[in-house]
């Protein structure tokens, strides 16, 4: 089992590319956040 006190590698090179799931997760999160922000801002204005 991985030593819990160890650290995962810190970035030294180009880094791993974003996976599709990460793009979807952050994309949906951002989109939802912005849509809600605009919608609620209009509702409260």
């Amino acid at each position: 089992m991985t030593d819990p006190s160890s650290l995962p590698p810190l970035p030294t090179g180009p880094g791993e590319p974003l996976a599709r799931a990460e793009i979807v997760l952050t994309g949906v999160s951002l989109l939802l956040g912005i849509v809600l922000l605009v919608g609620l801002a209009l509702a409260f204005s």
């Binding site: 006190s5 880094g15 791993e16 952050t26 999160s29 409260f44």
Partner: protein
Amino acid sequence: MTRRYWKPEDQAALILGLGLVALALPAAWGVDLLGWGASAQVWMDPAKWAKPVGGYAALAPWQSLLFTWLAWTFVSWVAIRLSRGALGLRGLLSLWVLLAIVLVCWVAGHQAFLAATAKDRKALGLSFSLGLTGEAGYLVALALGLIVGNFFPAIAARFSDILRADLWIKPAIVLVGGAVGVKALEQQALAQTVLVRALAAIVEAYLIYWALVYLLSRVVFRFGKEWAAPLASGISICGVSAAIATGAAIRARPMVAVVVSSMVVVFSVFELVLLPWLAYTLMPHEPMVAAAWMGLAVKTDGAAIAAGAVAESLYDPGKGSLMVGTTTTIKVFIDLFIGVWCLVLALVWERYFPEERTIAEGESGKVRWLEIWERFPKFLLGYFFAFALMVVLGLTMPERMKGFKLVADELDLWRKLFFAAAFFCLGVGANFRVLIAAGLGRLTLVYMVSIFGMIIWIALGISWIFFHGVPATMQAGLVPVEAKQ
């Protein structure tokens, strides 16, 4: 091979966390079973370092600490028995010593020069303090752990069989659920206008912050997923609890969450000093924007509420001020989302990124939903159960709200002690020289860029949208929701 859908560590976390909730609950009906627990206080006079959290005022601080120490040893022994089997006499004695060390660290972290914020200084007769809040206890525990681990390896070896951070982290997250449930209910008394705006503000702040910080960490600073997710939660949500819960949900190594949490605590000092003053300078006629801004931008509960109080003293809106209540509400509501977001992350990670764990444990094969359930960090269910239980009880028995608040305080006390123990354990096992040599600078940079380059400005914009022009006092025209008690 028989599948184990409930891992022993998850079972132990649920039994320990929910067991403490069950023991704390009777306090709401006047049967205070855990009220003797030592609640550390910010202190100058060593005689005032702690006081009983509940109705045991006759207990001296040392007696309260002694009871806490003994009870903690017992519950830890139970947790170790459940998760790993027998613990010999030597192990029990090691546990006793370890917990004593953690308690001393926790109390030491509340020393006024370390912990007192600007609003506490006058009462304590101080002209200067670091303002780290009581959460400095985590840093003291981590620092002592690092010293022991790096300079006294023989001593560390004696504790090796009980130095397990996950033993503390998982039940602590269950306790967060119970305490947050009560704190959310407490905010019902705030004016409804403010409450609705606070909820509206945090939903999109949360969604926007997290995604941006995650992308910044991954794409610009090239951190791996194991770093980026706890960093995004720690920086964008509410610091220590969020980083630790996220780390556990995606099965990151606990040291990641500890490093992130330590940075959160240190940087919150700068925010606490800078933001109230900046708010007053930039918008002297918008106290509610300032109050919301403190809640959305300052990490750690203690620092955020302290920042709200400092802002309130600068604006001085008068009797019936809603400023600190607004900051607190926003901070509490943000905390509510820890569990929801960790649930989402746990599902995504188990479904799409099982490889780290697969490599670590030598397993292979497709990831099916049944396996996702098998791997799912089930202590999160304890978080939701404790949260739902407290909300349902609070809503059905509003006349008991004062008692439920005591329950929350008692759960919070144990949560903080568990976190402190996790920090110490990880400090002992960590070689910080590796981290410093490899990239602490880059971690610091991503934190600074995220907070000072993005989050505080997005938070200011959102606070402005929802709170500009909102009166800062009850008397100024807001209709308060009828208090439940």
